[in-house]
């Protein structure tokens, strides 16, 4: 079983809708949680970062972490066609001294005009 599970999608939503993405994980030692966005044929870019539990908001993006349920979420409000991409969650423990990240498989999002 993978340490990080993520539904591959595709997730298709109309422009202006809320996009809801999530990942579940099994390793309770994970403390740092990230969301990367990857456009087609490009490298991933960091979108959001959260340490431990709680919410974090940045513009149209909100990241949530529920450590008790081992579940993280990313919400995109007022979605735009330019949000069409694959979203990967990633996480790490505080004891990994060389920055090892465990990635989910990624969810493909399509925002239709």
């Amino acid at each position: 079983q993978k340490e990080v599970e993520q539904d591959p999608g595709p997730l298709s939503v109309p422009e202006g809708a809320i996009v809801s993405l999530n990942c579940t994980y099994s390793n309770s030692a994970f403390q740092y949680f990230m969301w990367y966005r990857q456009y087609s044929r490009k490298g991933p870019e960091l979108l959001m970062y959260t340490y431990s539990s709680g919410n974090k908001e940045d513009g149209r993006f909100t990241a949530q972490v529920d450590k008790s349920s081992k579940y993280i979420s990313l919400f995109i409000r007022d979605s735009q066609p330019s949000d069409s991409a694959t979203y990967l969650c990633a996480m790490r423990t505080p004891t990994d001294s060389w920055g090892k990240l465990q990635f989910g498989a990624g969810t493909q999002v399509v925002v239709t005009p």
Partner: protein, 115 residues
């Protein structure tokens, strides 16, 4: 792409041939990583480096070797390419692997096809 280049960007090679991919950074970051990305698997770490001549294995290192003779360059070698190594390869860099430093910057990727 945060001062990271990868070469070549595309390569087609035959089974059994050696292949070397290059990652070059201009950020002077200490940590460098090689990942492969395959459908359904996400990004998987092949090898990483925590300094010049300091490297170690990731979770899918069989059939791959790496070298880092300069801070800015990290080479990935497929010793004898197999069809299972057909993939997209990404290089990433990080200023620090400790504590709150979390961000890894990714290069544009190399698309490798082994026939």
């Amino acid at each position: 792409d945060a001062g990271i280049t990868q070469s070549p960007r595309h390569k087609v090679t035959e089974t059994g041939t050696p292949v070397t991919l290059r990652c070059h950074q201009t950020e002077n970051h200490r940590y460098m990583y090689w990942y492969r990305q395959d459908p359904g698997h996400g990004l998987r770490l092949i090898h990483y480096s925590y300094g010049v001549k300091d490297t170690d294995k990731g979770e899918v290192s069989d059939g791959y070797s790496v070298s880092r003779s300069k801070t800015e360059d990290f080479l990935l070698t497929l010793e004898s390419a197999t069809s299972s190594q057909t993939s997209v390869y990404f290089c990433a860099i990080s200023e620090s692997g400790r504590g709150n430093s979390y961000e890894q910057y990714f290069g544009p990727g190399t698309r490798l096809t082994v026939t």
